[in-house]
Symmetry: C2
């Protein structure tokens, strides 16, 4: 299964009027390797293991399966994960039938807001609402695996970054 996902900074909070669902998510990384990345994720009473390969352009092999919440909590509390768990509220935002996922990060990544859109093909068209900021699909710093080991609070930011809310 290939995943084509485009990722953007968020310029303001006008997306909030189009939210259709919100879920608190916690994810942690068992492996952030050259070849494969292994993630455990939970949201409410559900949990998943996800394996991602290396990105080729904006497409990336991905395998995911649901697992018991107990398994994920055991792994996460065992000290076997890299860095810290990444916590966020994921808001699904409907823009003309396109479902953007707007992630509002918490904890050490509080202040960071990212929008993602999954597409069928690399050149698929999609709407660009006013709140959609700079594309950061190719910027590896905005990957959750990077944020687990280099949380946003630790970034050495200069003032010109188009990140909402401003810091």
């Amino acid at each position: 299964m290939e995943e084509i996902e485009r990722k953007f900074l968020v310029a303001d909070d006008s997306w909030r009027s189009s939210v259709i669902s919100t879920n608190r998510m916690v994810q942690a990384y068992l492996a952030i390797g050259e070849r494969a990345q292994v993630r455990v994720r939970s949201s409410g009473d559900k949990a998943w293991v996800t394996v991602k390969g290396q990105a080729k352009g904006i497409s990336r092999p991905e395998f995911e399966t649901e697992v018991p919440v107990d398994f994920v909590e055991g792994v996460r509390s065992s000290g076997l994960c890299e860095g810290s768990p990444v916590e966020k509220d994921r808001h699904v935002v409907d823009v003309d039938g396109y479902l953007f996922e707007v992630d509002v990060f918490l904890g050490d990544n509080e202040g960071l807001v990212l929008a993602e859109l999954e597409l069928d093909t690399a050149d698929a068209e999609f709407p660009r609402p006013p709140w959609l900021g700079e594309e950061v699909t190719d910027d590896k710093r905005y990957r959750n695996a990077y944020l687990a080991t280099n949380p946003w609070a630790s970034w050495n930011r200069d003032g010109d970054m188009d990140v909402y809310p401003s810091t």
Copy 2:
């Protein structure tokens, strides 16, 4: 959950008369890290994801959950695993009520036979049948993760190893 497992070479094939079950198993490694090792394993129509931490002596943190066979086959055929899958027939052998697992390896590890016994405590007593060879619990070369990337066929063996069948 802690796992205390002792591992042995096998001196002859007299264990075969006490086999109570046999399963073909295939396992592959998504991550063989300093901190955590992530394994996918399948046997017949069942499959599992297992996360193991670093061994402390002969005890080792371990978390396992059953997952769909399709997930494991997808991951395994994706080229995301380290080295090659490790294939073996696992025979459960009853010795006075103690269940040894005798693994007869296949493919690139053909010729290697190992016996494992899971125990509740590090100093628990257990029977030592005549076929039980040298203990290799602390020899990392006999770990399946090592065999995935350094199959037995590639070892530079000298003649004095107590491994059955002899090579």
